[in-house]
């Protein structure tokens, strides 16, 4: 990597232990977050993207457990930290916002009380200084008449406002990394755009890095600099956002893009990816995507490909791009435009 990296996740494994069975929700995930940039993690439900995000702050609840890997934040492996050390990181250097603004704020405490909490823990601010800072933060995230909001309860605010409060809370201690777990999924489209815009502005202002977890490629296109595509607990493709949209390589990424309505190419109809995500207990032994992949060969069904560097900042987990590829060599060069212009 040419740039400075703030977070480096290496071979992260998080499993859930249910009735003696191990379900590998995150199975060897590797990605880097460059400083001051936004990394998008995309994937379907159950691909392990949210669990990866929660693993970074070690917020995985029993029966889930991080079973291996490294999470290097500014060079230190967070997985070696004890509970106390981890608490000093949470809400301070790394903070997180969640998918459900309606339920993510405590209903029985005021907005001000909840905002002051992190300020008190990490900055030692008392009630008055905390309230001043809270008002400042609410103003920063674009909440009108912030001074009167401080004494309000979450139920007095709309969903968009609550997500702004969540963002204000996450920003309280000037974090270097913000993990946003589908921050706009529960909001309607206009509010969605506002929140994404806000995050971008704040990122420019505070030079923080963002991990944006989403299943929405539109959100990725709008906000991210780099993208990791996840499928069944593994990263299948990592690239910068332009490369990913212009020249997707993994058949899964291609499938995702083809199932999306686009304004820049003529599409007769949308092309869904055939089949469904395999259940956790019947994972294919080869490539996880092989049963749904239009190009899969015996090799794909038999052996799991590794995540390999194929360019400056590009990694891919697919047999097609290896020397061992035994299928049609033509599929290596894949342009969605060519395909749609045929008819």
């Amino acid at each position: 990597m040419s740039q400075e990296t703030i977070l480096e996740v290496k071979d992260l494994r998080t499993s859930f232990f249910v009735e003696g069975n191990e379900v590998k929700a995150v199975d060897g995930v590797t990605f880097d977050v460059p400083k001051g940039k936004t990394l998008g993690i995309v994937g379907e439900s159950g691909s392990g993207k949210s669990i990866s995000a929660l693993s970074i702050l070690q917020l995985i609840d029993s029966p889930g457990k991080i079973v291996g890997g490294e999470i290097n934040f500014k060079g230190d492996n967070l997985l070696k930290y004890n509970d106390n050390q981890m608490r000093k990181i949470r809400g301070n250097q790394i903070s997180m916002i969640f998918q459900e603004p309606m339920t993510s704020l405590n209903p029985v405490y005021t907005v001000g009380q909840q905002l002051r909490e992190a300020l008190k823990i990490h900055r030692g601010l008392g009630k008055e200084a905390g309230t001043e800072k809270a008002v400042e933060l609410l103003e920063l995230v674009g909440i009108p008449s912030p001074r009167s909001r401080v004494t309000q309860y979450p139920f007095e605010l709309s969903g968009g406002m609550r997500q702004r409060v969540m963002i204000a809370m996450a920003l309280a201690c000037d974090p270097e990394l913000l993990v946003a777990d589908e921050p706009t999924t529960a909001l309607d489209v206009t509010i969605q755009a506002q929140i994404l815009e806000l995050l971008k502005e704040l990122q420019d202002e505070f030079h923080m890095s963002i991990i944006m977890i989403t299943h929405d490629l539109g959100v990725v296109a709008e906000t991210c600099d780099y993208v990791a595509v996840m499928y069944c607990g593994k990263v299948v493709e990592y690239a910068d956002v332009n490369t990913l949209f212009k020249n997707p390589r993994h058949p899964y990424t291609v499938g995702l893009l083809n199932s999306l309505p686009r304004s820049d190419v003529d599409q007769e109809e949308l092309e869904p990816i055939k089949g469904t995500v395999p259940a956790p207990h019947e994972m294919p032994k080869g490539c996880r995507f092989a049963p749904r992949c239009p190009f899969a060969t015996d090799l794909c069904h038999e052996k799991l490909p590794a995540l390999e560097d194929i360019g400056e900042e590009e990694q891919i987990r697919c047999w097609i791009y290896t020397d061992e590829w035994d299928g049609d060599p033509e599929v290596k060069v894949y342009e969605p435009e060519q395909r749609t212009s045929e008819d």
Partner: protein, 307 residues
């Protein structure tokens, strides 16, 4: 907040009126003639008529109710048929004993129940959790008079730590309070456990953790306040049930409380005393629930029972 409390208090008026009508009707719905009772089996009809006249039993019912309710408001609960003394004098000291017993038992229930419930929830499926839940099941299933007898046997007779009976001095209240409060503690422990388990899995608890809040603060500040509402409800109901249901414990420990007075008065058909006891229990029950309703508002500002 003030408006909320005032409205809740005003809403009590119809409830209390309803209670008083029910209590008043008791006298007239139960078989048997009070005048006959007072005069005795073989009294001449003239005497009975005279008594009926003096008690106002021949007046129309609304007039009788008015006489009754205006008396109650002034603190006149009638005259005991057995002792021919004012009912208030008879009932009040006994009520104070039962009230004391109920309050101590409720405090014990809440204290023990909350601690046990929180420990259980925080360490779900641990040895501590399973032990607490088994003990709670015992506490819940054990009839409190039997528990009272066992306590007397162990701690009063065998060990001699506490007096076996009576209601005098601090040491005498320990055993009755334990025997009366155990079931409540068990109910509150189970309630707290399930309520806490529900709250702990909520999104806002994860938010608090993501902020770097300590586990202890998360449990006692973020989770407990949310989990308390059902617990407070149960504790309120429990208090009312104790007040009315202390009679067995009072009998076992030979405490001269209102429960025993009530049962004695029922068997003796001393209606004014029965009426007074029931009225007092009902009023206290309603007031406790008022306190519970007001505490909801403190726990969660969103709750508005006036809507």
């Amino acid at each position: 907040m003030t408006v909320y409390i005032i409205r809740r208090v005003l809403q009590l008026i119809p409830v209390l009126l309803g209670v008083s009508i029910l209590v008043f009707s008791l006298m007239h719905l139960t078989p048997g003639n009070p005048a006959q009772l007072m005069a005795g089996e073989n009294a001449p009809p003239e005497t009975i008529e005279q008594i009926e006249e003096s008690l106002g039993l021949n007046d129309p019912l609304p007039v009788q109710y008015w006489d009754y309710i205006s008396g109650v408001v002034q603190g006149d609960l009638g005259t005991s048929m057995r002792y021919n003394t004012p009912v208030a004098e008879e009932v009040f000291p006994r009520f104070m004993i039962t009230l004391e017993l109920s309050i101590y038992s409720t405090i014990l229930s809440i204290f023990m129940g909350l601690i046990a419930g929180i420990v259980s929830a925080v360490r779900q499926y641990s040895v501590a959790d399973i032990t607490i839940m088994i003990v709670a099941l015992f506490g819940l299933s054990m009839p409190n008079f039997w528990l009272g007898l066992m306590l007397i046997q162990w701690f009063a007779v065998n060990l001699g730590w506490f007096p076996p009976t009576g209601w005098e001095g601090a040491s005498s209240i320990v055993l009755p309070v334990i025997s009366l409060g155990t079931a409540g503690a068990a109910i509150i422990a189970r309630m707290t456990r399930s309520s806490m388990l529900d709250v702990i899995s909520q999104d806002y608890i994860r938010t608090a953790r993501a902020k770097g809040v300590k586990q202890r603060v998360i449990i006692y500040k973020h989770a407990l306040k949310n989990a308390l509402i059902p617990v407070v409800t149960v504790a309120g109901l429990q208090f009312g049930a104790l007040l009315a249901g202390a009679v067995l414990t009072e009998s076992v420990f030979a405490i001269n409380g209102m429960g025993r007075l009530l049962v004695d008065s029922i068997t003796q058909r001393d209606f004014p005393v029965v009426q007074a006891c029931i009225l007092i229990i009902a009023v206290v029950f309603v007031l406790v629930n008022l306190v519970v309703d007001i505490s909801y508002k403190f726990l969660n500002k969103r709750i508005d029972l006036n809507d």
